[in-house]
Symmetry: C2
């Protein structure tokens, strides 16, 4: 038994009964991503400060009254969620902020936030009796699905473009995903995956067409709200590619306000790379995003045709936030500063949110003294090569005391 | 204020007052690693099932009554500890075990168990007013120290042999560690580090000479005892190189028994690679370990001169456990099986404990129906190249429906 009462198109408002099995709006097609709606009165009774404090389950399933998954079969053995909200006091001072917290989703099972969505997908696939879950991705969505499917004893079918980053590919191979590697780019792999998924009855883990994935992703907002004991920060920053994580934040915070566990929805800022910024442009122009050919070093947000644009634009506008861009050099600098000043090593896309906060402070868009949260969406171990863009190993020295002393003097430590 | 009442040599039993500042036994020298002793009556009053259940701090600092660190300055901003104890039911059935849990320390801040020791080192260095913490390592101890030092705003001086694995080096560079890279192997780097550490008054993060590091590492046992609600498993397996983690397990479980939070100490099994097994040989022969030239693919346990041998041998004997070996091929197979059947991706050394359990079951050393825990000490993202030893990416197919159908048929999914 879930508290889901219906699905509603984010564009036209048309309702779909959950029994229909439809995943996008019958009227608007693929543009019409759906919102999952809950009986919030029931959720308010089930989720209270007291019930949450007493719940020893630290995973996303503690919020089951706001999730589309019923019963114990949803309890995957891996702990998805419960990642730390790390205070970064030195950075807050340096940036002139009243407070800064970093939500570190690099510490999820597969080292990215995507596990929140994969967990819901795998649980729903198990409930539906599907024999496999399918997705097209080179990156974190794929390695996340491979990880959680392996834990649940389910097969995962991954449609993979030819070029895939080493660490993420290693995760797919280690967990024994069923790989369909295609001599083509991401868009072609996506289309082939979509067709085969329907044809063979795989459960679809596709951002933009499966509305339940945002339900998993919104749990990052539920956790931030709970960890802040109901007092919302002023502003929350996160990288944005398809816009699914960013859009889900709004839904999560709004639901926590609705059930009385958060005082207000913070201003939400989605951060795109300059070379992959169709959402940021649409936020300014007011229209739909225009497809582009993306180019950025931040592979996880290198998206030219953002599939969750409607929810992303709503999140920025309804929260009084924005969608902005940063240069690749600013993203690299954000990786460096987060690692050195907060001890948190992010992959480039994972540090984009922090880069946006730094830029907003510089430009006066984020006021002095504000309380900010940045979400790190993936670990730096996913892309260790990125470090070469700002640091190099020093030349080895001779193995003798005098050379050591010279080196320590160079470092100001002698 | 800590509850530390003294230090005692594990070999000769000689006591050292904590005020002496000595880190090894005055009589036995470097062989005489010390045990840190606590007022267990005080610890029993401070740590109860009720007080732990009510404590919202999920890090190792929840056990401060059994740690050598006093006061709030110990509270590093990163959450060290609180890693999940994952039930692996399919693997338990396949191995004929009554229960199997995997303690996944790949989910620590720097993705290895070593953070437990680095956290205590950094906290003690801050209390002592040291300007830097130093260690010699190519691996997880170094990347852990770099991560936690950065978070605490302290400098870390890392003596690095010339050859260092990419992902671990990337962590050092990202977090801005002060690197002294030496054109030599580990042993020479260690000696140069030891001398410079004394000379310049750095705080030493050196396994075997600093008794407080095991105090950090033992928290993995405290967490297992707490998560099992006081009912010890029959057997606990972990990889062993220097023997520090393995030896610390015994101390942690024994203290939890002493304060009434665990019913008994489980049998502890340390697992070494065949090519780096001086502890396993000494366990059989009864003498001291003989130094060897180590050779194994599991870099984190590739140790030829184990520095914590006395505590490791005590752990095996006093718990009714053992120190055993496995072949590199068994370690690689353990990485594969853990990733595929439990969804947990370990680096080779991190999977050695599981390899030992599999071998013990095969040889009848672990009885059918036993309840076992294996500790994964580091994430597979630390060494993604290891996956190439058991899996390869499939050849890409043509980007067309017919080729996809052929591939799905090969996978048994058409």
């Amino acid at each position: 038994m879930t508290h889901v009462i219906g699905l509603r198109c984010v564009l036209c408002g048309r309702e779909e009964p959950p029994e229909s099995g439809r995943m996008v709006c019958a009227r608007c097609g693929d543009d019409g991503t759906l919102d999952v709606e809950y009986d919030l009165g029931e959720a308010r009774r089930a989720l209270t400060r007291e019930s949450l404090d007493a719940d020893r389950d630290r995973s996303i399933w503690r919020y089951r009254a706001l999730l589309p998954v019923s019963g114990g079969e949803a309890r995957l053995p891996l702990r998805v969620g419960g990642t730390p909200l790390v205070p970064a006091e030195r950075l807050a001072r340096a940036l002139g902020l009243g407070a800064l917290h970093v939500k570190d989703d690099g510490r999820m099972p597969s080292a990215s936030l995507k596990d929140r969505a994969s967990a819901v997908a795998v649980a729903l696939a198990a409930e539906a009796g599907a024999r496999a879950v399918a997705c097209a991705s080179t990156g974190n969505a794929a390695s996340s699905l491979a990880t959680l499917s392996a834990a649940a004893g389910m097969r995962s079918v991954i449609f993979l473009p030819e070029a895939a980053p080493l660490a993420k590919l290693a995760q797919l191979l280690a967990h024994g995903a069923d790989l369909v590697r295609v001599r083509a780019g991401y868009d072609t792999a996506f289309d082939l995956a979509a067709r085969a998924t329907v044809e063979h009855g795989f459960y679809p883990r596709n951002t933009g067409t499966n509305p339940y994935l945002s339900e998993g992703k919104k749990t990052v907002a539920l956790e931030i709200a709970e960890d802040m004991r109901g007092h919302a920060p002023d502003r929350v920053y996160v990288g944005a590619g398809d816009g699914c994580i960013f859009g889900s934040l709004y839904k999560g915070f709004r639901e926590m306000v609705a059930i009385g566990l958060l005082d207000r929805v913070p201003a939400l800022v989605g951060v795109q790379a300059e070379g992959a910024a169709p959402l940021a442009r649409a936020f300014v122009s007011g229209g739909r995003p225009e497809p582009i050919e993306p180019s950025t070093i931040a592979d996880s947000i290198s998206v030219g045709r953002p599939r969750d644009w409607a929810k992303a634009l709503r999140a920025a506008r309804a929260s009084g936030g924005a969608i902005r861009t940063v240069a690749d050099a600013e993203i690299i600098d954000a990786v460096r500063v987060l690692a050195r000043e907060a001890g948190i090593f992010a992959e480039p896309a994972g540090a984009a949110g922090f880069a946006g906060l730094v830029a907003d402070r510089r430009e006066g868009r984020c006021p002095e003294g504000a309380a900010a949260v940045v979400i790190v969406t993936g670990s730096g171990l996913k892309d260790p090569g990125a470090v070469a863009r700002f640091a190099a190993a020093p030349e080895p020295i001779a193995p003798e005391t005098r050379a050591v002393e010279t080196r320590l003097a160079e470092l100001g430590l002698a």
